[in-house]
């Protein structure tokens, strides 16, 4: 029997909060489509597709984390680092959609919650952690590996905390929030270590083969904004003036 894989089943969270989560998830996905349209091009669109396929496959591989407990990759941090936060969140959301519709993995009512927690939250958190690390530590290979590891490590427990928040608002059972919060955080830090290792290995492999494909090192959305603003400020057109470099741009 394959373990149900870290997805919220139907019944944990009541119908109104699940419906609200669906609405938030749809709004979030709309923003992601809008953002991905700016960030993707002919080269990165197939890469985003591959990342979604890869995350689906890796989510089937539950690894043991503690006595009688398992976890698997969530993948939002990995996807965000490689193809940007918008396309990354979309990639994981497509995984959740296929898992829910084709394999009845994760509730249909609860799918909005799962899209928020595993798609949107992990991509956003993973993205900002990675960007922070490469901004502070640079874009050397150790820095990129450390950034990818920390992005995965931190994204998973944050996702678990969002679940506890959702349960506090719309949970159907009576629980001690404090002890559940502690238990969820503890086990998901352990799962986060696995997430961090897989994220670092995958980002490291792509970095070795084609560093230009690691989106988190070349934020093209900023470059696009620069190009667009160049219309009003011609001096920025070359993008080489030090004063014109946005502080977040890293790498080449």
């Amino acid at each position: 029997m394959h373990a149900t894989s870290m997805h919220i089943p139907d019944g944990f969270i009541n119908a109104p909060v699940s419906a609200l989560a669906w609405a938030i998830a749809i709004a979030g996905l709309a923003v992601c489509i809008w953002g991905a349209r700016r960030q993707l091009d002919e080269k990165t669109a197939p890469l985003a597709g591959l990342i979604a396929v890869f995350v689906f496959a890796m989510q089937m591989l539950n690894f043991p984390v503690a006595a009688g407990t398992s976890g698997h990759l969530l993948g939002g941090a990995l996807a965000a680092i490689l193809v940007g936060p918008y396309a990354g969140a979309l990639a994981v959301s497509v995984v959740i959609l296929v898992q829910g519709l084709l394999f009845a993995d994760g509730g249909l009512t609860a799918m909005g919650l799962n899209i928020i927690n595993m798609g949107l939250v992990t991509a956003v958190v993973g993205w900002f952690v990675f960007r922070l690390v490469v901004r502070l530590a640079g874009t050397s290979r150790p820095a990129v590996l450390a950034g990818a590891f920390l992005a995965g490590l931190i994204a998973v427990p944050v996702s678990a905390l969002v679940f506890v928040l959702e349960y506090a608002i719309g949970g159907t059972g009576t629980i001690n929030l404090g002890t559940v919060l502690a238990a969820m955080t503890g086990v998901h830090v352990l799962i986060g270590i696995g997430e961090g290792i897989i994220t670092a290995l995958t980002v490291g492999a792509v970095y070795l083969a084609r560093p230009d494909l690691v989106y988190g090192l070349h934020d093209r959305s900023r470059a696009a904004l620069e190009i667009r603003s160049a219309a009003s400020t011609p001096a920025a057109e070359s993008g080489s003036g030090p004063s014109q470099q946005p502080s977040g741009t890293v790498g080449g």
Binding site: H2, V53, G68, T69, A160, G173, M184, V206
Partner: protein, 124 residues
Amino acid sequence: MRKGIWLIIGIGIAISLVAAGVVSFYASSSPDGLEKVAEQHGFIDQAQDSANATLPTADYAIAGVENERLSVGLSGVLGVAVMILVAFGLFWLIARGRKPSDPGAQGGQAVVPDSSTGTRAATN
């Protein structure tokens, strides 16, 4: 030499097929983090089967396939195939959508058809 994007795609899909089709059988079947906490803190019984739990592909097992290794492996391969169609299709549509209908338009400026476009085109 820089490796081509489609070579990387091919390698990635091969890895995904092996992971989902073969290695998945050896995945831990222990309850995951959320399940474990729900068991220990008394809310696991609130879980309900989703509406499509009777699908012949539910829970990564193909109905009628007795061999568990084959059943989960086929599920994995099926999932990878569906993911390729859905994900590559979605991102292809999104990347395609950023191109305006005008075939001559290139680059980021053309994405925003604002009022200044005409002026910019004239000055270029």
